[in-house]
């Protein structure tokens, strides 16, 4: 589904990503772990085209490195940014409408289904997105991307700043997304969430992938966890 090789990215003269390599298969949940500043968010921003990438990024077999964001999204790669980017003056319903692509048919997700899954959003369908709680905004942001019926979504820090109860809801939604055949690349700091739901995990350090394994293998790799993940 997604094949990243020799990916480099720069902010001015700073060399942020230094030959990142990883892949995500169909229907898989893959987590990208690491401490702050190691380049996890830059990796997903390079894939979606917000940061200029150097290297190869193949999505569904086609090279997308350097293509405009809208074109990448149109090919079926969704992105949920860390800051959620809810349109504050638009209603919940309008925010969801924005996620739909032009001429879209037979989507895996419909608005009524989304409202059924999240009664909170249904109750506040006509309320401005800006007044929702952090958890509701996170759900809205993820559901908005789902409305475009992506084959894969990249989610940056979805549980950041959320209460434990809401974190559970987010985890359940991620599993529901994957059960419908949508691959997920999850950028996450909460190790317990990533270990619970991921099929495979990558650990990043100094702009590179320093470890690849499953939840079970990472749980046993004390050295990796203490050197690259624990604060």
């Amino acid at each position: 589904m997604l094949e990243v090789s020799e990916l480099n990215a720069y902010y001015g003269k700073s060399h942020i990503l230094q030959g990142v390599e990883f892949n995500v298969q169909e229907g898989e949940i893959v987590s990208l772990l690491g401490r702050n500043g190691v380049g996890r968010s830059t990796t997903v921003k390079s894939i979606i085209g917000e940061v200029s990438p150097v290297g190869s990024i193949k999505f569904k077999g086609e090279e997308i490195a350097g293509r405009p964001s809208f074109e990448i999204a149109s090919r079926g790669l969704g992105y949920v940014p860390e800051n959620r980017d809810i349109f504050p003056t638009l209603t919940v319903r309008q925010n969801l409408m924005l996620g739909m692509k032009n001429g879209q048919r037979n989507s895996r997700w419909t608005m009524s289904e989304i409202f059924e899954m999240f009664p909170n959003l249904a109750e506040r369908a006509e309320v401005a997105g800006g007044v929702l709680s952090g958890g509701e905004q996170q759900m809205l942001s993820m559901c908005r991307t789902l409305m475009g019926d992506p084959d894969m979504i990249m989610i940056d820090e979805p549980t950041e700043g959320l209460a434990p109860k809401i974190v559970d809801q987010v985890s359940r939604l991620l599993e529901e997304i994957a059960s419908r055949g949508v691959a997920i690349l999850l950028v996450e700091q909460k190790l317990n969430v990533a270990l619970r739901i991921s099929h495979r995990l990558y650990v990043m350090g100094h702009g590179q992938i320093v470890y690849e394994g499953t939840s079970a293998s990472l749980q046993l790799a004390d050295e990796i966890r203490s050197e690259w993940l624990e604060v």
Partner: protein, 316 residues
């Protein structure tokens, strides 16, 4: 007195709504690109000239149809092949570009159509009084101008606030990257908005040309007032632009129709100045004389007391 008030109000509405057609396009473009398009009134002038040329062969109504299309297409091409490239160099470069474009269009108009006033006339179909009030006629063409302007406002308002494309435009104004990440072609949206904005200016030119005369200076006459409206209404606010347009139109219309002057004010205060006073010209000023200055006076007051304008969002 009532007669003067009624006709001043009607004339003020006509002027105000005409100004809104220009200001709406300008404020839409500013909202999206963050740059004031100095050449906006030049597209209005092109609308009048294109319509004049088309009307010579095919009549007024064909001009009303084709001229805005031509102007809108030209506007979209300007955005696609010029402004988008200049955009990379920042807002100052964009301002200088649109400033230069305004001169270029004015020179082009003089080159192709000449420097004289064109005999661009309203259609015979609307050459009758719509109604007679207090013995004065209100022409059908002015009624037509009001109808077109109100119609455009309603359509624009509906499209921007109720339709999906309007929602995408609103979102692209504030969060272009997020909208692009959802799969919408933001550069294409920007080009379309620029095209529609200039086409609206074109419509204003088509219907104002026969009333305000079609000559190479017509962009300069309205251009500065349109900027005043956009600033008073609040940069980027369509509703604000609508209110400000009507305010300016009515203000100027009432000022022109009144016969009040400084002597009346001085008399009211019990003051009197002799005719040989060195400032005699100032003391004898009348409201109709200062009517053209009033929008700019209002602009200064708004900038002092409410710099964001009536409904500005940008500073919030």
């Amino acid at each position: 007195m009532l007669e003067v008030f009624v006709f001043s109000t009607l004339n003020g509405l006509v002027t105000g709504l005409l100004l809104f057609m220009l200001a709406s396009g300008l404020t839409l473009i500013f909202s999206m690109m963050g740059v004031l398009n100095f050449a906006h009134a030049s597209f209005y002038m092109l609308g009048a000239y294109f319509a004049y040329s088309v009307s010579l062969k095919l009549g007024f109504w064909a001009g009303l149809f084709f001229a805005p299309l031509l102007v809108g297409t030209l506007g979209a091409l300007v955005e696609r092949y010029a402004l988008r490239r200049v955009h990379a160099y920042g807002h100052v470069a964009e301002l200088v570009f649109t400033f230069g474009l305004a001169f270029l269009i004015e020179e082009a108009v003089q080159f192709f159509w000449g420097a004289d006033t064109k005999n661009y006339r309203s259609p015979d179909l609307l050459d009758f009084p719509l109604f007679v009030l207090f013995g004065q006629e209100f022409s059908a063409y002015r009624g037509f101008m009001i109808t077109i302007s109100v119609g455009i406002f309603l359509v624009l308002f509906y499209v921007l606030t109720r339709s999906r494309i309007g929602i995408i435009i609103q979102a692209a104004i504030t969060h272009p990257h997020t909208v692009a990440n959802l799969g919408h072609n933001v550069p294409l949206i920007f080009m379309a908005v620029f095209g529609v904005g200039t086409a609206l200016a074109g419509v204003a030119g088509v219907i104002a040309g026969p009333v305000l005369t079609t000559f190479p200076g017509m962009a300069v006459v309205l251009g500065s007032i349109v900027f005043v409206i956009v600033v008073i209404g609040g940069l980027g606010s369509l509703g604000g632009a609508f209110v400000a347009s009507l305010m300016i139109g009515l203000l100027q219309s009432y000022a022109i129709a009144s016969n009040l002057g400084m002597p009346d004010l001085l008399n009211l205060l019990g003051l009197d100045f002799s005719r040989d006073h060195p400032l005699n010209d100032l003391w004898t000023l009348t409201l109709p004389q200062i009517a053209p200055v009033l929008p700019f006076l209002l602009l200064v007051l708004v900038l002092i007391f409410r710099p964001t304008g009536l409904a500005g969002k940008r500073e919030e």
